[in-house]
């Protein structure tokens, strides 16, 4: 019996030593994503998810061509982030290559993760109608399989976060935007999976979005899409805190 107890004790020790070492060295790893991700029906920082999606789309379409991953003139950068006040937006998943790693230093701010986006406006059609825009924003997204992980932990039931914004006004100031949207203010909508997370603890974190999408041929002729984008974030402590 004593021998059996010894074996149990040594086994537990062997399992726990590396585990405890790992937890000491990777202090910033999250225990659960649910503590950090805002619920889809909540109003993070006073705005609905739909409103944050609209803000993101406004920033995204106005990126300079060399900074927009959807543009043929895009020049890959080590880090690509968008900022609106205190909110940090990661990049849209359209990328010039299918597997992309970004290395970024950020301060302790909330983060918007645009895992899957489809925004459309009156400015990109010759004879637009509300129906055309409604159809446009849902032409691909329903057929996508999406996975988002933070520090290797998957956000469960990610499809809950697929939210369509209300109508908003999209102001386009970038002449050579990759979506061929005319300059000016246009009625627009966006459908997206875009979870918003609270400021992460300081240290290294990995946010990874993975998308596989294929549209059935009765809907439209399309190419299957596969994108894996990894953000390696170094979250620096907030000095004001």
């Amino acid at each position: 019996m004593k021998i059996f107890n010894k074996i149990i004790f040594i086994s537990l020790l062997l399992i726990n030593i590396p585990a405890s070492f790992f937890s000491f060295t990777n202090v910033s790893a999250l225990e659960s994503t649910s503590d950090y991700v805002f619920e889809p029906d909540s109003k993070p920082y006073g705005h609905t998810y739909g409103e944050w999606e609209a803000k993101f789309w406004g920033l995204h379409v106005n990126l300079q061509p060399d900074k927009s991953p959807a543009s043929p003139d895009y020049k890959p950068t080590e880090c690509l982030l968008l900022q609106d006040g205190n909110m940090t937006f990661l990049s849209d998943f359209y990328s010039e290559i299918e597997y992309r790693n970004y290395e970024c230093k950020i301060s302790q701010t909330p983060i918007v993760i645009p895992a899957l986006t489809e925004g459309c406006s009156y400015g990109e059609f010759e004879s637009p109608t509300d129906k055309i825009i409604e159809d446009c924003i849902k032409s691909h997204n329903p057929y996508a399989v999406v996975k988002v992980t933070i520090d290797g932990k998957e956000i469960p039931d990610i499809d809950r976060f697929r939210i369509t914004s209300d109508w908003f006004i999209l102001n386009v100031t970038q002449k050579d935007n990759p979506y061929d949207i005319k300059l000016g203010s246009h009625k627009a909508k966006i459908d997206a999976i875009m979870p918003i997370v609270k400021p992460l603890p300081s240290g290294e974190h990995e946010i990874r979005t993975e998308v596989f999408q294929d549209v059935p041929s009765i809907i439209m002729s399309d190419v299957p899409l596969h994108r894996v984008i990894t953000y390696n974030l170094m979250v620096e402590p907030n000095v004001n805190k």
Binding site: P142, Y143, E210, F212, M220, S221
Partner: protein, 453 residues
């Protein structure tokens, strides 16, 4: 082991050296790569720069021209020895299709020269090609429908009914495919210049034509009608002896096609991605690009298996044209990314086969029916054969009836044979009267044929 491998290789080389098999495989590969090049380029991470894309398109155009030349000579060889039997109308049709293939080849050559020399081309070249090919296809599909309808009226053969439905669906599908493509092309300027492939297919919003769902539904109906046709042919080949093999072969193309077609089934399939992405992607990419293609190829190969058993070489050659037509009709009307990315226009070559597809289907059946209706030895050979020969016999019988129907008024008006004599009404014909009637009808048929020459 080494010898058996060599023997196998030798068999493959022998098989490929057969003219029809060589054309068939080249055609199938050309259409597969042209129609799914953009998909394959994405899946296999191929380069998307302008020079590389133009080079690939140049290879496709070169193969297209070579195939067209081969087809011109093949069709000429098949018919040139048989105008005596088939008549002048076939000669006119054959000259028409040669002229058609030359015109299409010249237009596509102008297009590739403009791309190579000017790095742009005029969209009216594409409009011209689409109009020529689709109007030819619509003309032959309507003619085919009319012919099969006439044959069906006199024989009531159930397989003929399936062919009528197929030809009607071809007419509708080709019309809708043409309208859809033309509507999509209207979003482009007159001069087409190089564009970014990835941006065009992923970032730019699509203002999809309202015709698209109708076009796709008509494709589904056409696919199903050809699938039923295939089931009839396959039943004769496998179904009588091996039901399991019959249903296995029959269900492969329809399962592939339907999974890719509908949202529910496709979503179920793509959900498997999360289980094992690295295993899922290679297993998914190839089947998803051949979903339509495999259906068309299997229909065509099945009909080939049936036709190859026919002993009469001339008759068999006509029906081989039908197998080419079956391969081309479904593949040339499938949806491709052609209307979304036009520099270079991948998928255009596939669409250009639509006219030839219907011509081959029509001319294959029409010349076969004319031949057997005028070759009594061949008709006798068909007696006591299995079901599919019954189908051709009924066509032959019907065609002969139609020919005789036109002659009867002439015979009745002639002074040589008078059925109107009051004393002969209501009585059976005497032996010498039957012989005389037979000679008159035969002479009239021969006169008709010589008038056609």
């Amino acid at each position: 082991m080494g010898w058996s491998a060599f023997a196998k290789l030798s068999n493959i080389v022998n098989l490929l050296s057969q003219k029809y098999i060589f054309i068939f495989i080249t055609l199938a590969l050309l259409i597969y790569f042209d129609s799914s090049f953009v998909n394959l380029s994405e899946a296999l991470h191929l380069p998307a720069n302008k020079i590389y894309l133009i080079d690939v398109f140049l290879i496709f155009v070169t193969i297209f021209i070579v195939i067209n030349v081969l087809l011109i000579f093949t069709i000429k060889n098949i018919f040139s020895k048989n105008y005596r039997i088939l008549g002048t109308r076939i000669k006119v049709l054959q000259s028409f299709i040669v002229l058609y293939l030359i015109t299409v080849s010249i237009l596509i050559m102008i297009l590739i020269f403009e791309i190579l020399l000017l790095e742009r081309y005029n969209i009216y070249l594409i409009y011209s090609l689409l109009i020529i090919t689709h109007f030819t296809a619509i003309y032959f599909s309507i003619w085919g429908t009319e012919k099969f309808l006439k044959w069906f009226k006199s024989t009531k053969n159930k397989l003929l009914l399936v062919y009528i439905v197929s030809f009607i669906t071809f007419s509708v599908l080709i019309t809708l495919s043409f309208l859809y493509t033309i509507t999509e092309l209207q979003h482009f300027p007159e001069t087409i210049i190089p564009g970014d492939l990835k941006r065009m297919i992923h970032a730019v919003s699509i203002n999809l034509s309202e015709i698209y769902p109708f076009y796709r539904i008509s494709f589904l109906i056409t696919f199903c009608s050809i699938w039923v046709l295939n089931a009839f042919l396959l039943y004769d080949y496998y179904g009588r002896n091996n039901r399991l093999k019959f249903w296995a072969i029959l269900s492969i193309p329809i399962v592939f096609f339907l999974i890719d077609f509908f949202p529910v089934t496709l979503k179920l399939l793509t959900s498997l991605y999360l289980l094992n992405p690295s295993l899922f992607l290679p297993l998914y990419t190839i089947p998803s690009t051949i979903a339509t293609f495999i259906g068309a190829a299997m229909v065509s190969i099945t009909s080939w298996l049936v036709i190859r058993k026919i002993e009469n070489k001339v008759f068999k050659n006509y029906l081989i044209l039908v197998t080419f037509g079956l391969l081309l009709i479904l593949t040339s009307t499938q949806e491709t990314l052609f209307p979304r990315f036009l520099f270079p226009p991948f998928g255009l070559i596939t669409i250009l086969f639509v006219g030839l597809a219907i011509y081959l289907l029509f001319i294959g059946f029409y010349s076969a029916s004319l031949h057997i209706s005028r070759d009594t030895a061949l008709v006798r050979n068909f007696a006591n054969r299995i079901y599919q020969y019954e189908f051709f016999r009924s066509i032959a019988k019907s065609q002969l009836e139609q020919d005789i129907k036109n002659i009867i008024p002439i015979v009745l008006q002639s002074k040589e044979f008078n059925l109107q004599k009051p004393e002969r009404l209501g009585l059976d014909l005497r032996k010498e009267e039957i012989e005389k009637l037979f000679q008159i009808v035969r002479r009239q048929l021969e006169d008709k044929l010589s008038d056609n020459k």
